[in-house]
Amino acid sequence: MENYAIEMLNITKRFPGIIANDNITLQLKKGEIHALLGENGAGKSTLMSVLFGLYQPEEGVIKKDGEVVKINDPNDANRLGIGMVHQHFKLVECFSVLDNIILGVEPNTAGFLQKAEAKQKVLALSDKYGLQVDPDALIEDITVGMQQRTEILKMLYRDNEILIFDEPTAVLTPQEIQELMQIMKGLAKEGKSILFISHKLNEIMEVADRCSVLRKGKYIGTVEIANTTKEELSRMMVGRDVEFVVAKDPAQPTDVVLNVEGMTVASKMHHNNAVKNVSLQVRRGEIVCIAGIDGNGQTEFVYGISGLEPLKAGKIEFLGQDITKAPIRKRNVMGMSHIPEDRHKHGLVLDYTLENNLVLQRYFEPEFTSKAGFLRKGNIRKYAEKLIDQYDVRSGQGPITPARAMSGGNQQKAIVAREIDKNPELLIAVQPTRGLDVGAIEYIHKQIVKHRDAGNAVLLVSLELEEVMSLSDRILVMYEGEIVGELDPKTTTVEELGLYMAGAKRQ
């Protein structure tokens, strides 16, 4: 009889229209690091929501130390010693580290907070596990790595025995990832049981003892990491062999499309400048990638080029024209397209129909608006149908589906379709494949390469190292608002890239 810390047996959870979890079994041994592998939409988050009592499964049971338990809400999970570091941290930005750690389990006398002893406990824990934090610092002022350590301390402070890490490495530098792996191993050694949710095979191979794989809501199997390979895991996850590299010919750059000189953009988050004196060029026929850890000025850099934020200093030339002060509409009409980082914030009007979203950049053209200012709805419909067909955008009611009702992947496809179909001279693609499954990623990568091969310039901004390495022709690394290095993806390594991204190395 194995000694399991927590078991989820034959869990089935249905939602209208889909079965999110179909008879899934997950058994976590005491003191092991167990990876849960699956693509976006494979059912990992639903399974975790069931574990935390946010959803009740239609079938199946959860056992803790061999006994059936009922989990109705996160409090129950907490009482059973289950804690989780969420992919998007659950931290209150304007609270201190300490306040965030004690939130929900505040030491108090008659309701009045007693923080002194809590602080001692936090400091002791951070010493024991090597989790450096400043308890009095505000969350909004500290690095992402330290925020993650705060999240881990939150679990340890509650004496949780079962620690769940949901995609913990997405926002970290390679070096920080290494640190995290060490911390996880240390925790496991202390007897904590760890569930590590990820779709990154390298990390799983490195840190996990066993791995359970989900695909499209179904349980595929559990394997010992020692007896498996990366290729096998990937086959289990996707259901077929995947190309790890994007097929593309060497770049043949020609004339300069975008020329940026000394660009400086102020930050909205802090007093410092977010982009500091950046100069670069992008040519026809090449994909230039801005790599870096999230929050190092990439967002503001793109805002500066697309016109969403004014420049504090510097100059932008596009197709030989100075557009430093040009309004956004002019840049768009001149031939700049922008696949925005946040599709809900910028990319879509969620309450508009799909067809209205597809003409968001072109509705004012004579094809779609008559001289008197009336919309040509027939033409909009025709155009939308063409794009939907060509880019395989799927939705419930076709062109009249509200954008809100579409899946994230199809929303992203719609944006990509809209932006690429404009046939722009410069395509700015920020995180174009975020949250998509492997098939959609491959498809979008192909579209981007095709666009390059047609003689256009592409400026890619990505946080995914694999994407950076496989898609780009030239890599520029951004660190704290500056370009700290230019690398050739054919000759560089992920490790070297990481050193630049972490600011440990610069040219």
Binding site: V92, E93, G104, L113
Partner: protein
């Protein structure tokens, strides 16, 4: 001059009480646009007690009257605020529409109640007025020439209580977490619904207090058709100007109170009288000042991040 100070303080007390209510509600994540209506209903509760509770000039009777009026105003305010809480928290209704509806409803309801009551007492009386000339004296004490309104003291106490509650207690920490990042609060087992209910009910309490204070300033009869003349909204301006922090709100309330008081007492100042500015201009003053102040403070204002957004368990 003394009169100006007196009016400033008492109007500031009203604004402070109500703005603190708005502040607590917004820290929990609910924008309370219904403060105006809550004030009216709170005032109604207090006025009814003043009308019907027998009052003699003894000290014990005075104290009893004060406690009962205060209790009734609080009770009415809290009960009325449940309408907002239920709609905005449980049913996730649009907070602006519901707030507006409750403001209109407050005045309409109070008018209907007072008119029907007056008509029932004497069939020819169709006014919406309640008189409380005698009872009002229960909350006034003269300190020299200065007329101290007990509600000023209540306001100061509430200021301290609100500060301690928000920043020194477990409850306050949880409440603010719900207004900033309800998902984070929920993930550590805090019931966002409960905390938001608490926030709204507390704002009902403070709004009711503010309402009763408002109708005892300088007058001894109140016509409920008139509502409370936008004081609920002025208080929201005070709250924004005070950056959602109790002590800063107190400062803002004093400033706005001064401008409001000018409208009541400008006749007492010879140089103001000599200017011969129509009274309508003085009436407009607090509103104009608040617009200007808002124009300069709103851009950088730091409201609780999740305010106005209904909390949905399914959203993560």
């Amino acid at each position: 001059m003394l009169l100006l100070v007196q009016y400033t303080l008492v109007f500031a007390s009203v604004l402070l009480l109500v703005a603190l209510g708005g502040c607590i509600s917004e820290h929990s994540g609910v924008i309370n646009l219904a403060l105006e209506g809550i004030m009216v209903i709170g005032a109604l509760g207090g006025a009814l007690v003043m009308k019907f509770l027998p009052y003699t000039h003894g000290e014990s009777s005075q104290f009893l009257m004060f406690i009962c009026v205060l209790g009734a105003a609080v009770l009415f305010g809290v009960i009325y605020s449940t309408l907002l809480a239920f709609a905005c928290i449980n049913l996730k209704a649009d907070q602006t529409i519901v707030g507006t509806a409750l403001n209109m409803l407050g005045t309409a309801l109070a008018t209907v109640v007072v008119k029907s009551m007056n008509t029932a007492i004497s069939p020819d009386d169709h006014s919406s007025e309640i008189k409380y000339i005698d009872a009002k004296k229960a909350f006034l004490t003269n300190v020299g020439d200065f007329e101290l309104n007990w509600f000023m003291i209540v306001a100061v106490i509430m200021l301290v209580v609100a500060f301690v509650l928000l920043y020194k207690t477990k409850f306050g920490l949880r409440l603010r977490a719900c207004g900033e990042h309800p998902q984070a609060a929920a993930s550590v087992g805090i019931s966002v619904f409960k905390m938001r209910w608490a926030g709204v009910l507390l704002s009902g309490l403070l709004g009711g207090l503010g309402g009763i204070t408002y109708i005892t300033v300088g007058v001894s009869t109140w016509k409920f058709e008139n509502g409370v003349a936008g004081f609920g909204f002025l208080s929201l301006a005070v709250m924004i100007f005070g950056a959602w922090h109790p002590f800063k709100i107190a400062g803002a309330a004093l400033l706005f109170g001064l401008f409001r008081a000018l409208g009541n007492v400008y006749n007492g100042f010879d140089f103001l009288k000599a200017l011969n500015i129509p009274s309508a201009v003085y009436n407009m003053l607090p509103y104009i000042v608040s617009l200007i102040v808002l124009a300069f403070t709103s851009k950088k204002s730091r409201a609780p991040k999740a305010e106005g957004i209904p909390y949905d368990k399914g959203m993560r």
